[in-house]
Amino acid sequence: MKTLKLILGENWLWRRQIANLALMDIKKTCRGAVLGWVWLFVKPITYIAVFWFALELGLRAGGNTEYPYIVWLSAGLIPWFFMQEMINTGSNVYKRYPFLVNRIAFPLSAISTFFTLSQFIIFLMLVVLLVVLCYVVGAPLTVYALQLIPVFVLMLVFWNLFSIMCSPLSAISKDFYNLLKALSTPLFWLSGIIFDVSNLSSGALHLVLAFNPVTFFAEAVRASVCENYWLWERPDVLLPFLAVLAVTFVLAVRCYGKLRKDVADVL
């Protein structure tokens, strides 16, 4: 309870710095290249194009839906890019800003927050491209797109908690971080980013994937932009995720409370 109050207090007190640091983080990512921020989009767009080429044109995936396959594919890949960045870098964010940990008195949870925020801003820019794509290919948004707002809030909260939970552990144990990094690519192939989870024939697999937050966010964005259903109509998707969120929340508060004072000593 005390740790939760601390986390919320830190983030509120430093809110102005958090916003500025998030922008600074994007600047830092773009730094050093002539084209700068263009590169933020080149990688995701190439990925989408390549997967679209291989899957729809090559393997003839998709087909019998009323929306084009590329919309469905992008709606899964774009949240994935954000989540991938959170798994790879967000889970070990103190490494990215060591001087904020052991040179300046800066609240550690706020480092997670501003990093999550910076990645989220990049994600939102890609979402704008996704919306443009929807209209270009003739699959305009419907009222279900309103669902994106709560989904985005959940995304921000969940992955911020994820970063607050994992970063102290990663700082203390390189094994933990290596494990997360090793899981990142398998997660992409297993989580239903490029295939439809509901096509899986095994019920057990369904159950396992229901507890995978990566699957949930890909499905949630798809539900809002192309598959057109409300998440509360699918308790089999929503409830397992809420359980995962609750567990992450408890673990994040616990890890942070226990380890935050040790991080500066071990980094």
């Binding site: 740790t3 710095q17 500025n20 600074m24 050093g32 040179r103 000593d265």
Partner: protein, 264 residues
């Protein structure tokens, strides 16, 4: 769950850190029986396991051991001691980077630290951006940063390099910028750790002059950490000698230096 929760809070009740910006308080810094211990685990795996279980064995090293002192506002105090005496640990606790294991720490006023000057900058950002970045963290508004910027750049003598990414700077350039920034932001408490050996002799002289200028303001409290007794004598009126984490001598600077030189 609830019993574990109380176990979680316990270290906080043992160690108390109070920090405010009350620069009118006649006491600037107070250490009351402060102990900082580092846990040395057998290996990284043991350290990791200790996050989940209390039964992991470790060796305890006390960097600060039952350390007590009070520094009043406007005082200039030198910390003397050999390597490993616990000077830097005490300063880290004062700046808020490190947390005491037990004891009570009160810090009244804003602390700016000249600790390891060349560190604490982001190599990807330019010098100018780093000034803005640090200014943000210090809580300055955009106008205040704009006002300070020319003064900092001028003092650091970086010339055209100020708009280059900091990873291209030499260590001397980083240290100069670090000193220029930390000494320009008008702190209530200034912590100087071996910083005056920055750059060449001419620049070191300039730094000394700057520290003198800051210290002429009777409200600024200065903590000075050094091995060199001559610069301690120049700045400070009081000396605290540390040895293995303990405060073993606390007196007038001349006596403290005499004592320190006696034990080295």
């Amino acid at each position: 769950m609830s019993s574990k929760q109380t176990g979680l809070v316990l270290p906080d009740t043992q160690a108390l850190v109070m920090r405010d910006e009350d620069s009118a308080n006649p006491v600037a810094i107070e250490f009351d029986h402060v102990t900082k211990s580092y846990k040395l685990f057998k290996n990284d795996r043991a350290r990791f396991m200790s996050a989940f279980s209390k039964n992991v064995p470790y060796k305890e090293v006390r960097a600060n051991d039952n350390l007590s002192f009070t520094i009043r506002r406007g005082e200039a105090v030198a910390f003397l001691g050999t390597n490993g005496a616990g000077k830097s640990t005490a300063l880290k606790i004062i700046t808020g980077v490190s947390h005491p294991t037990s004891g009570r720490v009160c810090v009244h006023g804003r602390v700016s630290a000249l600790l390891e000057l060349s560190a604490g900058f982001d190599g990807q950002l330019s010098g100018r951006e780093n000034i803005a970045f640090r200014g943000q963290l210090w809580g300055l508004s955009a106008e205040e940063i704009a006002q300070l910027e020319p003064r900092i750049i001028d003092f650091a003598e970086l010339g055209d390099y100020i708009d280059q990414p900091m990873r291209t700077y030499s260590s001397g350039m980083k240290a100069r910028l670090g000193f220029a920034f930390a000494s320009s932001i008008k702190p209530d408490i200034l912590v100087v750790d071996e910083a005056l050996s920055v750059g060449d002799r001419r620049f070191a002289k300039k730094c000394l002059a700057r520290v003198h200028e800051i210290m002429s303001d009777s409200h600024v409290t200065v903590l000075f950490v050094t091995h060199s007794s001559s610069s301690a004598k120049e700045f400070c009126k009081r000396g605290i000698v540390l040895d293995r984490g303990r405060n073993i001598y606390d007196a007038d600077i001349k006596d403290a230096i005499a004592y320190y030189e006696g034990i080295v």
